[in-house]
Amino acid sequence: MTDIDRRNPYIILGLPFGSNEEEARAGFAKARRRLRRDPDAQYTTEDLTWALHQIEQLITHPELAIDVYRVPADPGAIESDARGVFHPAPHPVARTTDTESAEEWEQLRAAALSNAVRRVLTERLEASAQYIPYQ
């Protein structure tokens, strides 16, 4: 088995597995610039051309991807959606209501209680075949 057999078109273009055609072309251009700067790089322009062609083929024939090692195998493992100061969460617009909401919360609680009681009563009493006069 030679190194050529292990060539991975995505890795050669510096792209994660599954990149689209546009990303592949951008990766190709970036890798070419790198080759110009670094003549001793482990890949050649022929490798880059091969990789771009391979990715284009994989896009039209995804079943061929069975032969391509996937890095990452699970993009979700590295695509951090963690929010923080440098990746702030969207801002809700400022509220236009006042903050005196206790009365509304009490109404919601009473309604929630009423709904929950009725649900439990209905299920329990129907399950035990109890009651329901005046059908």
Partner: protein, 845 residues
């Protein structure tokens, strides 16, 4: 009958209730008017409500009064006209019926004249109201009754509770205490009464209802009833229940779960500090009915929409899902913070505006570049930014900056990687992300090191699996297949992922075909879609078959059976009944026909396939069957219907070439020739040259076999040979030369078989002749009835004639002088036999 309703004919049909029969029938019509009618008219009327079986006249009237308000009005007038007084009513039941009728007729004042007590009047009013469906009045009357009497009021209250928003006050609840829990409705009322009021009563009711105090549903009801107090909300159980309800799921209690939790319950659970998952219509409902409460939840980041909203007001979307709001809507709402945030995330360079949001994000942009000069403009709600600034000043990550993963890449790039934080849940993903970046930068060694750091710093399975995948790729790139495989197999422990499995197949390909086939077989069985499964099967098959010969050449030479690994077979079987493309189906069945014949031969195994009626299924199931003739017939049938099927033509060519090869390789083995003969005999469509060659080969093999057994070839063999021979002239020059040679050999073989078969027949004919003539020995010639003898020898004569004819035809197939001479010799023998059979006397003379 008094009380029954009749339909009277007339100019228009009217329904009325008979309220009196003597001295003249009186009828109250639906209009409410009472009229007398003649007996004859009543007799002709049609009964529409027959209450004749009801013994009490008053009860009958009450019944019809409660059925119709207009009748009730009419009956009231009639009752008033009667001037009935309690003294005229014979019994308590009559009084009750009279009062109930009066109540039904809307004349409570008359009911009070019935002589019943005030409580009984209330009781009757309660039942009357329920019969009308008026729960409010029914409850009012029920609660006015004495607590310790009239038990059926409990059922009335329970019913009212179940159909309305009614709830009991404490005093009202007390009236239930005297009643047994076995009574209908008591438990329901007790439960409702206990919830908001009394902890002790609640426990009792839970027990009576079979609700365990430990049940999640019980806990949730209790939490709702307790409001802001009395429930332990910090426990693990409370967290689980609140989270479940907030996301719209029932508390995981026993019993039925047909009805989901209500919006109000979701809101209350979210208020406890959990994310409420709201459908857009639910968000809109809260927005309209409890906007301040919704705003509270939004401000605490406790609302998420379950799906993209379509018609919600922009103001609401800007509150609950500002990320989805289009730019123009943000500008219309002057939502400066979200506008600035989006600009910051896009990395737009240039001057910022003058709002507080602009100042903040301009300062944040500067901070990202290591410029802390604008730190005073930052809105720092939780102290993280202060820690970031301090980290820059101290040249190491400090304080809350360590807990915010978004600060790392910024700070490490500026400060240096030697201070990478370790003890954090974010460390593993962070190392992993950087490791992959190194891999994409073609630095396998650095990628491997970072993958190991990620493994050291993470317990998260997804992160660890990805780190192992990264580690494996780095090893794979350097040709270290065994450690790469070990890493991947570790990653595959636990949760399955198709991508890892595919990677394992790729690495295993470099190790041994069985291992690769195992991993790809796993992928083919468990991959999330049929496309990937099919690709895995094809890849596994290719790897396994192309490598097997190189790896196990000796075994191949030994001629041992060629079997696919079990996992791969299972995967192919599964795909064969999936909804896959016909072409893929064909490939799977072709594999099964070659490597899993017994399973495929059972037609029931593939009867669930969408391609159950396809030519493919018929052909490959036949191929898998024990009789190759079935396979040949299936191909012939398919090609006769559609000669353009390339795959089927390829199957046919494979069969023809295979048979031809086998026949000419070993003509003494008659098996292939029999199937070749079958193919020709049933008219398997094929190339004319193939037809001539296959027929010739079959004739050679079959003739040689028959000749050795001294059997005469069947007439069909001769016919097909002659057809083939006559077709030779239609072939191209090159084909004709090759075909003529085969046909010559076949002709000689056939002639030889015919000669051999007839030689044996001649021997038998002579024996039969001798047996017959021996019986004539010792009999004087003149006493023999030669006419009868000649008659007895007739079959021998006919057989000889037929053989002479066939041998004469056989001579035309022979191109060898010696063979022709041999045929002539046999024919001469038959000639002699025929002469003796024709004239037996000459034999004795």
């Amino acid at each position: 009958m008094v009380g029954s309703a009749y339909r009277f004919a007339g100019l228009r049909k009217r329904v009325g209730v008979v309220v009196r029969v003597s001295p003249k029938p009186m009828v109250v019509f639906g209009s409410g008017k009472a009229r007398t009618v003649s007996n004859s008219r009543l007799g002709k009327a049609e009964i529409v409500l027959d209450l004749s079986s009801v013994p009490s006249e008053l009860f009958r009237l009450q019944t019809v009064a409660e059925r119709s308000e207009s009748w009730a009005s009419g009956l009231a007038g009639w009752l008033e006209d009667q001037g009935t007084e309690s003294s005229q009513l014979d019994s308590q039941s009559d009084r009750r019926l009279y009062a109930r009728s009066a109540i039904a007729a809307g004349r409570v004042d008359m009911a009070k004249d019935s002589g019943l007590s005030q409580e009984e009047i209330l009781w009757l009013q309660m039942h009357s109201a329920m019969s009308y469906g008026d729960s409010d009045v029914a409850v009012e009357k029920a609660l006015a009754l004495p607590p310790d009497r009239f038990p059926d009021k409990v059922a009335v209250l329970a019913r009212a509770l179940s159909v309305g928003d009614y709830s009991l006050t404490g005093d009202e609840a007390d009236l239930l205490d005297g009643w047994p829990s076995s009574m209908t409705g008591v438990l329901a009322l007790r439960m409702a009464a206990a919830l908001p009021i009394d902890e002790n009563r609640w426990d009792v009711v839970c027990q009576e209802l079979g609700l365990s105090p430990e049940d999640d549903e019980t806990f949730w009801l209790h939490a709702l009833a307790a409001g802001e107090s009395s429930v332990e909300e910090s426990s693990e159980k409370a967290a689980r229940i609140f989270e479940s309800v907030a996301s719209g799921n029932r508390p995981a209690a026993s019993g039925q779960h047909s009805e989901p939790v209500s919006l109000e319950e979701k809101a209350i659970a979210a208020r406890k500090g959990y994310i409420a998952l709201l459908a857009p219509n639910e968000a809109l409902d809260l927005w309209r009915s409890a906007r301040r409460a919704l705003d509270d939840l939004v401000d605490d980041f406790q609302v998420e929409l379950t799906e993209a909203e379509s018609d919600l007001p922009d103001e609401l979307v800007a509150r609950v899902n500002p990320d989805s709001l289009p730019q123009h809507a943000l500008e219309s709402l002057n939502h400066t913070w979200e506008i600035a945030r989006r600009r910051y995330e896009r990395g737009v360079e240039g001057e910022w505006g003058s709002t507080a949001a602009d100042f903040h994000y301009a300062a944040l942009t500067a901070l990202r570049k290591g410029d802390i000069s604008r730190a005073g403009d930052l809105e720092d709600s939780n102290g993280v930014l202060e820690a970031v600034v301090a980290s820059f000043e101290e040249q190491q990550l400090v304080g809350k900056a360590l807990d915010d993963p978004t600060t790392w890449s910024v700070l490490v790039d500026l400060i240096g990687p030697e201070d990478i934080p370790g003890q954090s849940e974010h460390a593993g993903p962070w190392y992993l992300s950087r490791g992959i970046a190194q891999l994409l930068d073609w630095d396998w060694s650095e990628a491997r090191d970072l993958a190991r750091e990620s493994l050291r710093n993470s317990n998260d399975e997804a992160v660890r699996d990805e780190a192992l995948n990264l580690l494996a790729f780095a090893d794979y790139q350097e040709g270290n297949y065994e450690p790469a495989m070990v890493a991947l197999e570790r990653a595959l422990e636990g949760d399955y992922t198709a991508a890892l499995q595919a990677n394992a197949g790729i690495v295993a390909e470099h190790m041994d075909p069985d291992r690769a086939a195992y991993h790809l077989g796993q992928l083919a069985t468990e991959a999330p879609n049929n496309d990937l499964r099919l690709a895995a099967v094809r890849r596994a098959f290719h790897i396994w078959t192309s490598n097997r010969q190189a790896w196990e050449e000796e075994e191949e030479e030994d001629g041992e059976s060629f079997e696919l690994p079990g996992g791969l077979i299972d995967a192919i079987r599964g795909l064969a009944v999936q909804d896959i493309e016909l072409e893929d189906f064909r490939d799977m069945l072709r594999l099964l026909a070659n490597f899993d014949r017994e399973w495929l031969a059972d037609e029931s195994h593939t009867s669930a396939s969408p391609h159950v009626t396809s030519v493919e299924r018929r052909v490959f199931v036949a191929k898998a069957s024990a009789d190759p003739a079935d396979y040949i017939e299936a191909i012939a049938s398919g090609l006769k219907r559609n000669s353009d099927l390339e795959w089927l033509a390829a199957e046919r060519d494979s069969v023809v070439n295979g048979l031809r090869s086998l026949i000419f390789k070993d003509p003494e083995n008659v098996g292939p020739a029999v199937y070749a003969f079958t193919a020709v005999d049933i008219g398997l469509p094929m190339d004319p040259f193939d037809l001539v060659v296959l027929t010739g080969g079959a004739v050679i093999s079959i003739s040689r076999s028959l000749a050795s057994e001294e059997q005469i070839p069947a007439e069909r063999v001769v016919e097909l040979f002659e057809q083939a021979r006559s077709s030779v002239g239609d072939l191209s020059d090159d084909e004709r030369n090759a075909a003529e040679e085969i046909i010559n050999i076949a002709g000689n073989s056939l002639a030889m078989a015919i000669a051999a078969g007839h030689e044996e027949q001649l021997r038998q004919g002579l024996q039969a002749f001798e047996r017959l003539t021996s019986q004539l020995n010792g009999i004087p010639m003149r006493r023999i009835n030669w006419t009868e003898v000649t008659k007895a020898l007739r079959p021998i004569h006919d057989m000889a004639s037929e053989s002479i004819s066939e041998l004469d035809r056989a001579k035309s197939y022979s191109s060898a002088t010696e063979l022709t001479q041999a045929i002539d010799n046999v024919a001469e023998g038959f000639n002699k036999l025929r002469r003796y059979a024709t004239n037996p006397r000459s034999f004795f003379s």
